[in-house]
């Protein structure tokens, strides 16, 4: 059981059942939902919660809807495709023709998924190593191979070598395992037309070996079959003039229908339709037509299995990483053995912009260039809603414990039934002062209810004065540095004061802020962790997963006054420039404090 550091997850409103209702049934759902909603405590353990809770960094914010948006509800649009290895942008037109993989020389190891490097397969160096260190410049020519610098896999293991060190993807697509050439679609076409090849195929047949013995790879076979059936569809026209009127209907024609019927009715229609069957589509009979005899001889595979054992077989995860290998005829391009796995061309990555699902405004848009990290639009929730930092607070040790809570070792287990205190620090990111109202259930939901008391559920946080902040961050000014130190001193002093007060009373005052700073406020939450034993313990029910995790659901309501910007819709109403309008944002969040000892 790993110790955890305290965390805050925020619920995106998209999963809120009360807002899920479609506009058509709002009335009905509102009626029941309204009173439901007031009592309902968000349960962080509910199965649904898994999908709605996010750390603040993952959330975006729609300025038009004034609402939090999460990765699950935003609509993504791809801005740029690029290869994560060579970082080249791939135009979307290429994507259609080449698939979503890098077509340059970027490959992953089929064994360990590490990157593969093109290395020259050098001829063996002369053994006089010790004598001359710099007698030769390493031959930078000769065949090349893809090698993994992590697990030492090499494409020579599947018999693949390359002539050139670049354009590996194109070269690889022409190579079958073992190094034999594979025809491209164009070459296949040419070959099919080529009379010399046809004649050679004919002589092969003359040798008594059936032409269908030749192994076709899947792509060739498919191409052959396709052209064959296309010719078949066209053929009946010519051969069966009597049915010309119907023939162009192809498969859906009565001709075909009757043929199928005759198959299933055992020839009862045979007499009548006998004539039609002449023009019926026949199956492929030759290699040229795409006939491929199934290779049922698996003795080689069995022998390999015998010699290599289970370790020699490729795992499903490795197979799923493999792009379909059309070069090999068997197993429909899938490999069975580790020794058959081919280099994996890198899957492309994307840069994506995000839209608000409701108003369709773009809330995040990265710059299109692959290498830049800038964003054109980046409305992150962190700059609109207060962040909540959690720190254990220890009050036990009397002597000058500052607010940092030295005794609270992060990740320490919580003692059951022993009150523990946590400091929640809310930091206001916006330029207006905000009023925060917190609501938390007195007892956490679930089988083991821990008691929760928010000592100060209502407070105000001053505005984030960004100008001042920037001045502080400027590293050049020494005077400013002093200012900063002074402020820090002041803060620390204040903190001690707060600490002393509480220590003297040995009790935390309800309704009082623990500490406050420029744009932040710390308050205290007291928890009494539950005793993790069931009362009626006849059947020693085991603790379910994460039931020892103390998570507090908390409802946060933030109110502030903002300059009335005059929404696009309401702009017609001539609002006063000076007018301030009240804004409000409310959401559930979950404070994960730690695990309870059991």
């Amino acid at each position: 059981m790993a110790a955890i550091t305290p965390y805050t997850y925020i619920q995106c409103p998209c999963s809120d059942s009360s807002t899920l209702g479609r506009s058509s049934d709002t009335n009905s759902s509102r009626a029941d939902g309204a009173d439901d909603d007031d009592d309902r405590t968000f349960d962080p353990r509910a199965p649904r919660s898994n999908y709605s809770l996010y750390p603040l960094e993952y959330l975006l914010y729609c300025e038009d809807c004034h609402q939090i948006r999460c990765p699950r509800c935003v609509a993504e649009e791809i801005v740029t495709y690029y290869c994560p290895n060579c970082l080249f942008e791939v135009p979307s037109s290429n994507l259609k023709s080449e698939g979503n993989r890098c077509t340059r020389s970027c490959f992953q190891c089929p064994i360990c998924i590490g990157p593969l490097a093109v290395t020259s397969v050098e001829t063996k160096p002369d053994p006089s190593l010790l004598a001359a260190p710099d007698n030769t410049a390493a031959p930078q020519s000769g065949p090349y191979a893809l090698t993994c610098s992590y697990c030492n896999w090499s494409s020579t293991e599947v018999g693949i070598k390359f002539d050139k060190p670049n354009g590996i993807h194109a070269q690889l697509s022409k190579l079958r395992n073992g190094g034999t050439a594979r025809l491209t679609a164009k070459e296949r076409k040419e070959r099919r037309r080529d009379p010399s090849y046809r004649s050679s195929a004919a002589t092969e047949q003359g040798d008594g070996r059936s032409g269908s013995d030749e192994k076709l790879d899947l792509e060739t076979q498919f191409a052959n079959l396709k052209s064959f059936y296309q010719s078949q569809l066209a053929d009946p026209n010519a051969s069966d003039g009597g049915l010309a009127a119907l023939s162009d209907l192809g498969f859906s024609s009565p001709t075909s229908l009757s043929r199928i019927m005759s198959i299933y009715t055992g020839g009862s229609l045979h007499d009548k339709k006998a004539k039609l069957r002449v023009g019926a589509i026949r199956e492929a009979l030759e290699v040229d037509e795409g006939l491929q005899l199934a290779d049922l001889d698996e003795s080689a595979a069995i022998a390999q299995l015998h010699s290599e054992g289970h370790d020699g077989t490729a795992s499903t995860s490795r197979l799923s990483d493999q792009p379909p290998n059309f070069g090999e005829a068997h197993l429909h391009g899938r490999s069975r053995f580790v020794s058959e796995l081919r280099p994996i061309p890198y899957l492309l990555r994307t840069k994506r912009s995000k839209r608000c699902p409701v108003c369709r405004h773009i809330i995040s848009k990265p710059e299109a260039k692959v290498q830049t990290t800038r964003f054109r639009i980046r409305l992150v929730a962190g700059s609109y809603i207060p962040s909540i930092a959690i720190r254990p607070l220890s009050l036990s040790s009397g002597s000058g414990t500052s607010a940092s809570g030295s005794a609270g070792i992060p990740g320490a287990l919580l003692e059951p039934l022993k009150p523990a205190h946590y400091l929640l620090t809310f930091t206001n990111p916006i330029f207006e002062s905000i009023k925060v109202t917190l609501g938390a259930p007195a007892k956490t939901p679930g089988r083991f209810a821990s008691k929760v008391t928010v000592l100060c559920p209502e407070f105000e946080i001053d505005a984030n004065t960004d100008v001042w902040d920037e001045a502080l961050k400027d590293p050049s000014g020494a005077g400013e540095l002093r200012d900063r130190e002074r402020e820090r001193e002041r803060r620390r002093h204040k903190g001690e004061e707060g600490g002393n007060v509480s220590n003297n009373n040995n009790q935390l005052e309800v309704g009082k802020i623990w500490e406050r700073g420029r744009n932040w406020v710390s308050i205290v939450v007291e928890v009494v962790p539950a005793w993790l034993r069931l009362e009626h313990g006849t059947e020693e029910q085991r603790l379910r997963e994460d039931e020892d995790l103390l998570e507090i659901p908390m409802f946060v309501r933030v109110e502030w006054e903002a300059e009335a910007v005059g929404d696009e819709v309401g702009a017609v109403v001539g609002r006063d420039k000076e007018a301030r309008e009240k804004r409000e944002l409310a959401y559930w969040c979950v404070l994960g404090l730690g695990r309870i000892r059991h």
Binding site: Y58, G114, D134, T373, A381
Partner: protein, 197 residues
């Protein structure tokens, strides 16, 4: 040994704000460039002596650049980590190549970095191994215990983990600020300040 401060602090603080622990091992300091405001904790090792021996043919006329390790601003090298330039055979001879690091790079305790380049705003966890000639771009998070294989390229906004490293997630839009190391810089040195709440 300079005796700037009567009570010798744990760190040597330079004019440009670098804080170098006295117990750090920097070999070949003349080849180590620090951009300023960089923290080097005790037991860190930087191999500045492994300098490039073969200059790229294109710039043979120019003055040879002898920087072995270049570190930007606000980098934080945690206790026990090790930076060393990557080396390889180049035109038949072996040479080391410089290790370059941008700004706001955090290197976790016990990690060994032999990358060719590390961008800015990169977080490298504890006990990470970064293989030779890896290229790590900006806003990348490498989780604890990761082994980044040699020559791997990690694009912007990646979160990687595992042995060997694989992409496990993307840094969210709201997570950029977490890479800032200005505040961390203040928490160490001879008069450290507490981390802001």
């Amino acid at each position: 040994m300079s005796l700037r401060r009567p009570p010798r602090g744990e760190y040597i603080e330079t004019d440009t704000g670098n804080k170098v622990a006295r117990k750090a091992t920097l070999v070949g300091t003349q080849n180590i460039m620090l951009g300023g405001k960089t923290v080097i904790q005790p037991e860190v090792m930087i191999r500045g002596d492994l300098v490039r021996t073969i200059q790229a043919s294109s710039q043979s006329g120019a003055t040879p650049n002898s920087t072995a390790v270049a570190i930007g601003r606000y980098c934080f090298l945690s206790r026990g980590c090790c930076l060393r330039p990557p080396g390889r055979l180049y035109k038949g001879a072996f040479t080391y190549m410089p290790l370059r690091m941008g700004d706001h790079v955090f290197v976790g305790p016990g990690s060994v970095v032999q990358a060719a380049s590390i961008g800015s705003h990169v977080h490298i966890g504890a006990k990470v191994v970064i293989g030779e000639f890896a290229i790590i771009k900006d806003y990348v998070r490498i989780l604890d215990g990761t082994v980044v294989p040699p020559n791997m390229v990690i694009p912007n906004f990646s979160i990687v983990a595992g042995q060997p490293a694989r992409l496990i997630g993307e840094v969210p839009e709201g997570g950029h600020e977490a890479f800032e190391l200005r505040d961390l810089y203040k928490t160490v040195g001879n008069n450290p300040q507490p981390a802001p709440s």
